[in-house]
Symmetry: C2
Subunit: 478 residues, 2 copies
């Protein structure tokens, strides 16, 4: 049996001086196993992110003529974040996978903080299960349907109320003492949209975080509902996304109470009405046409559009009664569990964040989930600062790796030293790294001074090595 | 907008003394946000893991009469690790998701150490793409096929050579300087097996890590092939799994060179021949019947059975020529990329590990990916040691959380204090936590002595608090 000895990383300096990148030794990543964790060095030129950042560059564009499009779709295609595979189905390229994994970590934290336990339910969901709940017919052409080699019918789950309720119903001796059960998953979902569009905002294959809760009473279920809504608020707060929670229709999911979490945006497909004083917010589909003023304070309601990024439902016993999901009460009676279900669009939140935070040609991410926190730009090849600048940037990186090791795996070195600093900074601006650290002219001063851009605030600072490290010590990496 | 304030954890002591578990405050998890990271306390009674550990208990069994079964399937069903949804489709319950996420971390480390970049390709894969490679017909009934609302044909990807090659081919200006490209994903795959069986060993929906590599020459591609094979060896070594790498047939994937990574096991579906001195190993399907001795040393070959957990293929230009996946050579000519593809069965490795490491009634995991590293067993309710034992165990946990905070999220407290220590230890033995820490009779000695079982070595140690902490400081948590 072989044993594995990863090669020692070569330094940036060597990489930059030799003008040649040793794929054999490094590839785009370099990883050290060991107690100190990872120390990866990511080289811009080696990252698989087929960019087309030139103005008007729309290679890989999948829009059909006349099809509406939106900012996030355009930016994500241009920046090599997604690649169209078929209508409404995208390959997520490496930076998107990084952002998605970070977002899932935040979701895990928030769900586990409210007692969520993570499971994973199959995509193939039997026709019988959906017939029993009445949704095999009700969902119509939105369900992707197929038969297996034995002629048995399945759909590809767009949501999993039936499957998870069945799972809980199968636990024959569930006691009230084990409730609440708050089960969630983060998996791929499928929906045969009539008009897939707007990139990851309305696609046919997407990732969703879906939670299903089981409580012993209506009151307990209402409490769970409130807790999960609070967790959703916490999540959007941590991402720094402006959101509104609005009363919503229950649609094909059913139940009696429902809220949507919406990011206000012109491109949004939902129409919302809001009380300007914050007393009331609703999706217009829940209101009578006549209702133009706030039911509590009487203020005139304003209208806006929103992108739905989360949806919560109080289900009661709609599904538990179908699957007979019961528990044993303190009085030793079998009772139906009171249910709720809760969804967050994982890939949709990625695109919606870009939609609401970016400008027309520069991507901005929520800092917490940006694919890379940092971009380093060494001097241009042949410039006066080339040798010293590269060396000082290398030293800065090494000190950073010592003091803030979690940042090293989140840092990219823009090694395209055939390009000017200005040109690379422009690309960095378009790609939206929160911090860009440049070894420019002033790197030759004593002590050396680095130019640091905080792209989320558009601030530029000139800092010594110590200053850079202090600034970056505040950056949180998931 | 709401802001989120997670409640302070209640202590075990309080939990145990009150005899009542505050779901409202805690649920099964408790999580603190903050610099110090997580401090979760998992209570056995609240974990969703529908166990049926009694001998002969086979509730939830999905075997049809006469269907063959195996150890891992039986153990995983009994221990509440999986739940059958439909033939060959399983819900993965929370402990399995934990183990799977750890396994994926190990895979990420190994793949990134050889320059792997992670992406995510849709499951829906268009019929055209598969027709172009000839596999739409070739794969026969193993492909799950469906049509969308517009009548367009798709399959559910069992593997993604076509899709990833198409993605790379779409990068119009790929230079030899950007090669090698080593792209991988960890996603759900689908295969309509004629006979799904053995639980996660042969299922119809499963997780696979699949890598696709693109090199500038045959030599470079061969080097990539060797690197990835070494990474696979490293992975199985780190998991402590006995494996053999054997020459293998290329099957429907194609290409010219192929190896399988096999775990020797009676239940394995592959027949292998091995040179007793380690000079040669092959899947019998690659050999003539006459070949009974080692081609290099002449020793008589021995036979064994194996579970295939990994498979590597040198593909050449089979797929790159179909999609025209080319790069620009140093001589400025367009050349077809030389490809390889590499698969690891994620869910299959989980089951295969249990298959080869466990006894007939006690699960054993590779230590690195066990769902929980630690189980704490406090004294029985009403016993002499109850009060003091619970308090001392709580203190031990708190000190552990201080010194080894990474262990806290990997620890379960078996709070079923209505049961004897012996009965709970028996369950812990069946479930296979690597370490079990018991507050037994000797916890009342001065200094207090804990009973610690290392279940992977069947050792029992009697240790002071300091001794326990020293022992556990060696445990690696992913």
């Amino acid at each position: 049996m072989n044993s594995h000895c990863p090669s020692e990383p070569t330094g940036w300096q060597q990489v930059l001086r030799s003008g040649w990148l040793s794929h054999e030794l490094s590839g785009p990543f370099q990883l050290r196993h060991g107690a100190s964790g990872r120390a990866r060095r990511l080289l811009f030129s080696q990252l698989f992110q087929p960019r087309n950042l030139q103005a008007g560059g729309e290679a890989g564009w999948d829009g059909r003529p006349g099809e509406p499009t939106c900012r996030s779709q355009k930016l994500m295609l241009q920046a090599g974040l997604i690649h169209p595979a078929s209508p409404g189905c995208y390959c997520y390229l490496p930076p998107t996978v990084r952002a998605m994994e970070k977002l899932i970590k935040v979701m895990d934290e928030e769900m586990q903080a409210v007692g969520g336990q993570k499971l994973n339910v199959p995509s193939l969901s039997s026709a019988e299960l959906w017939r029993a709940s009445g949704r095999w017919e009700q969902m119509g052409p939105e369900l992707f349907r197929l038969v297996d080699r034995h002629g048995k019918g399945y759909c590809l789950g767009p949501t999993h109320e039936e499957a998870v309720t069945e799972l809980v119903a199968a636990q024959s001796n569930l006691s009230y003492k084990q409730l609440p059960l708050r089960l969630y998953q983060v998996t791929r979902k499928f929906r045969d949209e009539p008009k897939p569009r707007f990139g990851l905002l309305r696609s046919r294959e997407f990732y969703m975080k879906d939670m299903y809760t089981f409580d012993a009473s209506k009151e307990a279920a209402q409490h769970t509902y409130d807790l999960v809504c609070d967790a959703y608020c916490s999540l959007f707060d941590r991402l720094g996304l402006p959101f509104v929670k609005v009363q919503a229709a229950t649609g094909s999911i059913g139940g009696t109470v429902s809220h949507e979490f919406q990011l206000p945006a012109d491109i949004g497909e939902d129409r919302l009405v809001l009380c300007p004083d914050g007393h009331f917010a609703a999706n217009v589909e829940t209101l009578n046409k006549e209702q133009t003023s706030c039911p509590t304070c009487g203020e005139k309601l304003t209208q806006t559009r929103g992108i739905e990024v989360g949806h919560t439902f109080y289900l009661g016993t709609k599904y538990s009664s179908v699957s007979n999901a019961v528990f044993c009460s303190p009085q030793n009676k079998l009772q139906l569990a009171e249910m709720g279900c809760y969804g967050l669009g994982v890939t949709r939140i990625l695109a919606a964040s870009i939609e609401v935070l970016s400008t027309d040609d520069s991507i901005r991410w929520p800092s917490l989930i940006t694919p890379y926190q940092l971009c380093f730009i060494p001097p241009k090849r042949g410039s006066e600062e080339e040798e010293e600048g590269a060396m000082l940037l290398e030293r800065l990186y090494e000190d950073l790796a010592e003091v803030l090791p979690h940042l090293t795996g989140d840092s990219v070195l823009d090694d395209r030293t055939q390009l000017t600093i200005g040109k690379r900074l422009k690309d960095a601006n378009k790609l939206g790294y929160p911090y860009v650290v440049i070894a420019g002219k002033r790197v030759c001063e004593d002590p050396p001074v680095f130019e640091v851009w905080n792209q989320n605030t558009s601030e530029v600072l000139f800092l010594t090595k110590e200053g850079v490290i202090e600034l970056l010590s505040k950056v949180q990496v998931l």
